[in-house]
Subunit: 389 residues, 2 copies
């Protein structure tokens, strides 16, 4: 059900001609009655912000944090496209507003695809009529919408989290340029909980920080990253902490699905750092290990080369004492207090051959802890990214 | 001639049994008369510092910036080896001191290889006798020494810079873990210029900042990076600027050779950022582009995807205005003021197919400029690094 799981939402998809092959490339999520409801978004930290990011920011500011619809397009990022790109984004929002019956500034826009290619506005506008006509409160529209936002993703990514009295649904895309601070990833979430725009924004930011912002595939931060949430309010108010927790769970499901489907990845690794001076240091150190090309190549080869892990901890900028670092692969400690220790090599080898690897680093200094999800680096990533055609 | 080019130095190499296959793995550079001369070094910024780094730092402090010999070993980094590693490093220095006839704290030590493996001290000590016996002021010893420090390097890296009245010689190794702030790289330089230790250190730091610290292969910073220089003084004093310039040229030759020989690389790219707010911002932006996995994959595929370059500039943290960025491949501008421009696609394609690529980014804001050398990312890097055996 994903985005139409929570009552009050409809979804649809269409082939708008942005992708050359005629695949689905337009997705729409809207409120059932086209009424604007509280909405919030978290955008890329990249200073080069695509036209849809600029337009969505402006719309949320103008509407005071409300939206009736989210249009998502794939195949062209509409980034580095200048004034023409901004005009295209405005035209898409106006087209959706006309189709569903709301104001243009009540439409948010998310786009993903190649950067720097002029956006085919006229072609895409033609796809909005069937898109708006087919809005569906059932599972079918949501499933097609989740497919329409895919680029190099191999499968759609959806989530539905049910809580006592309300639920959170979501869909996302993302397969490369995945890094903390998000990256070429789009996610649209819905909930029937009632929340004021400011509270919704706070809850979303917290959920994103704990999930999407702890992924590291290639440390690239795109021009288009956006996570949006719309709250229909049909279930009435929900305690802030409870809503945040449900959003976090939905985002966590989507983030794990993204990392598992990362371009060319053969395994997912969870890098945990504990015993750090504080949580900030722990995250910093975990991120450095997770981003290391040498560590990621070792993962690809199932090689438990802990020396590289220790080296990256030392280069991370986190406070460390080389003689207090311990490292484990799975449940097996391979380095204690900075030097190698005898261990069950067969158990480590078996763990490394699996598609879920856990590396735990204990800095032995304090109580700070943090985790980052990463992938291995193999031929597949290069194959996906060495050409645009 | 490399390190024995400047008068006053001798060099040799031996197979010390550290590398399993019996290859050369010990190299020695010493003053001809075993007299300690002014010496300086720049070490890794990694907080996990290998035993040889700790020992060399201590020796330079104790001798007041003087050394008579530099021992370089390959095959085992003697890093993350604890007290045993420090004892091994001290024993190697003592062995060289006895062999050449100087004090142990007048010996500097550089080691490279795998991290976290106990160092085979007894075996290596046995190799010091032939090593010290074969010290040679000619080209033969220097050539063998340059080979002995290689790990995954495919060829030795040497430099000899002649100036009016003095010269600078050098040798280096390094093929991965190459990043600004150096990384798994060792370089030993010699000069017959006279310079006090403090002035020599200043000159070396400046030369390293402009050369080794502008390389980016994988942004990994190792536990062992060291650049050392010994100044025999036979040529008498030289103006500080002139010495710095000669050191910079020698380091530049070695740095270019390292990047060109980087693990699995098929091409070298020079990323230039100009028009930045200041030089610091320019370097920061160039480094981000140079380190980008997506840009490096594009280089591997000879794909001039400037959208990725612009995205990385935006994510670099440097001050930018998206609408003022221009990007050129070779001499051909492909993006002007943030959007694509019609250009000679055949000329760009030809440039991208070559083994030397230039990407120039003009931020259009100020006068700051900087360059970083990088490589493409292809199968070769993964093949080299997915296993340690």
């Amino acid at each position: 059900m994903s985005v139409t799981g929570p009552p009050g939402f409809v979804a649809s998809a269409a082939a708008g001609g942005i992708k050359a092959g005629g695949e689905l490339d337009l997705a729409l999520v809207a409120t059932e009655d086209a009424r604007a409801v509280p909405a919030a978004a978290v955008f890329t930290s990249n200073q080069v912000q695509a036209a849809p990011v600029q337009v969505s920011r402006a719309h949320l500011a103008r509407s005071g944090g409300h939206a009736a619809a989210v249009l998502l397009t794939s195949g062209n990022a509409n980034a580095a496209t200048g004034d023409d790109g901004r005009r295209a984004a405005a035209a898409l929002c106006a087209g959706v507003a006309e189709g569903v019956g709301c104001r243009p500034d009540e439409v948010l826009l998310c786009q993903t695809g190649l950067i720097g290619i002029p956006f085919p506005t006229e072609v895409a506008l033609g796809g909005l009529t069937p898109l708006c006509a087919e809005l569906d409160p059932g599972a079918g529209g949501a499933a097609r919408a989740a497919r329409a936002i895919m680029t190099t993703d191999t499968e759609p990514k959806v989530a539905l989290v049910r809580r006592h009295g309300f639920s959170v649904g979501g869909m996302a895309k993302g397969a490369a340029m995945l890094a903390p601070d998000m990256a070429t990833m789009l996610a649209a979430l819905t909930t029937d909980a009632h929340a004021e725009p400011a509270a919704l924004h706070t809850a979303l930011r917290q959920a994103v920080a704990d999930t999407f912002n702890t992924m590291s595939v290639d440390e690239c931060t795109s021009t288009n990253d956006t996570v949006v949430v719309l709250a229909s309010g049909r279930a009435g108010p929900v305690a802030a902490g409870v809503l945040t927790e449900a959003l976090r769970e939905a985002c966590g499901i989507l983030a794990e699905a993204m990392v598992a489907d990362a371009e060319g990845a053969t395994k997912v690794a969870r890098i945990r750092v504990q015993g750090a001076r504080d949580d900030h240091d722990a995250h910093r150190a975990a991120r450095r290990v997770a981003a290391s090309l040498l560590v990621k190549c070792s993962l690809n080869g199932a090689d438990p080369y802990w020396g590289r892990v220790v080296s990256e901890l030392g280069a991370s900028g986190a406070v460390i004492d080389p003689d207090r670092i311990s490292v484990s692969y799975g449940a097996v400690e391979v380095c204690r207090y900075g030097v190698g220790v005898a261990h069950d090599e067969a158990a480590v080898a078996a763990h490394m051959r699996g598609d879920r690897v856990r590396i735990t680093c204990d800095l032995g200094i304090g109580a700070g802890q943090g985790e980052v999800l990463t992938t291995d680096l193999g031929y597949g990533y290069i194959d996906e990214n060495r050409g645009t055609s």
